[in-house]
């Protein structure tokens, strides 16, 4: 590597560092939130002595929310698991913002493309 590109890449790396720390913090909030919701659900499972359903478990949002309103532990766990599934999406969204802050247009475009593809794939998943 030439000296000039070395200096450039050092400076670039410092900027990236700040970006990564911000993403890390937001990601941590997301992960902790989902873990707490799951743990509350598990605690309710033991307090209520079961999942709250005679058979099966909720899997559509309407069923999950009405289950939570009725204090059913399985519904709470499912909400926490769904939050966990969203954490990688959160990671991509925050990365776009971070690259934007860094004035790195190329990576704003690349990361936005990842987000669009991901949302498209998740919609496919919801419909299937």
């Amino acid at each position: 590597m030439s000296e000039k590109t070395k200096v450039d890449s050092k400076k670039m790396h410092e900027e990236t560092r700040q970006v990564e720390l911000v993403i890390g913090k937001i990601l941590r909030v997301g992960v902790i939130t989902s873990a707490i919701v799951i743990l509350i659900g598990i605690a309710m499972y033991f307090i209520n002595g079961g999942g709250g359903y005679d058979s099966g478990f909720p899997r559509r949002f309407s069923a999950i929310f009405s289950g939570i309103a009725a204090g059913k532990s399985y519904a709470v766990i499912m909400l926490g698991v769904f939050f966990l599934i969203l954490t990688p999406v959160l990671r991509v969204v925050v990365s776009i913002y971070a690259f934007y802050k860094e004035n790195d247009k190329l990576y704003v475009i690349i990361t936005t493309a990842v987000l669009i593809i991901l949302i498209f794939a998740m919609m496919m998943g919801y419909r299937s």
Binding site: H13, R59, Y74, V81, R91, V114, L118, A121, M124, G125
Partner: protein, 280 residues
Amino acid sequence: MNSMLLLLIMGIAAGCLGAVLGIGGGMIITPVLTIMMGMDIKYAIGASIISVIATSSGSTIAYLKDDMLNLRVAMFLEIATTVGAIMGALLVGVFSSTFLYVLFGFFLLYSTYNMIRKLMDKKGESIYTSDDKIVNKLNLASTYYDKAEQKQVDYSMKNVPGGFIMMWAAGLASGLLGIGSGAFKVIAMDTIMEMPLKPSSATSNLMMGVTAAASATVYFFNGSIKPDIAGPLAIGVLAGALIGARVMQVLKPKVIRMIFIPIILYMGVQMVLKGFGVSF
């Protein structure tokens, strides 16, 4: 209570190993749930996809904080993997899965051979630092601090198009065959692009959660994800991944490679046999 405790402990083990190697825990979790706990394969697959996401999210927190992963490499290659995964999901049934299992199985065996050669190299782990036009253009070169060797390692990489195609193929395989693609991701970065093993593993960890999120929504809404399995497992895996991401940083790259080799050998043999109709 007992089964929840068992899931929690298994989750810790799978999360720890997955975070160190940059692979999802599917290859541990699926057989344990189906063979040892007698669970329906449908729920086992749902559980393993949740553990991939938990491994990814848990370890990424630590790897971002400690500057171990390469965010640009991750996002650039993620395009290839997610596009591959969607194509795979759309093309299910078009290709013979026998052929694909054998093809990817042999690729893993070939990678095992390559990894052993790297391990046997007397000069130790080599770091690629030369200039590369595409790497410069995409600004992919980076640096990490190796806690085991107590030094800052500046690294570059090569053959970005090759890595991109490999990532696309890994995504295709995961969409078509429903297998995780963590091992292929590590191989693409470590073997094809010659990135150092530690940032390869950390970057694979970040990526595999993003790739898995799409299939996780499929499994969530079709009822493959059971709360009494996924809940305790997710908590265990998150804890395990946080531990694993700490452990990985103090391990020598050589040690990580020594754990990685038997695992891809096992996966390769398993896939080739599965292609020929033998399951275990």
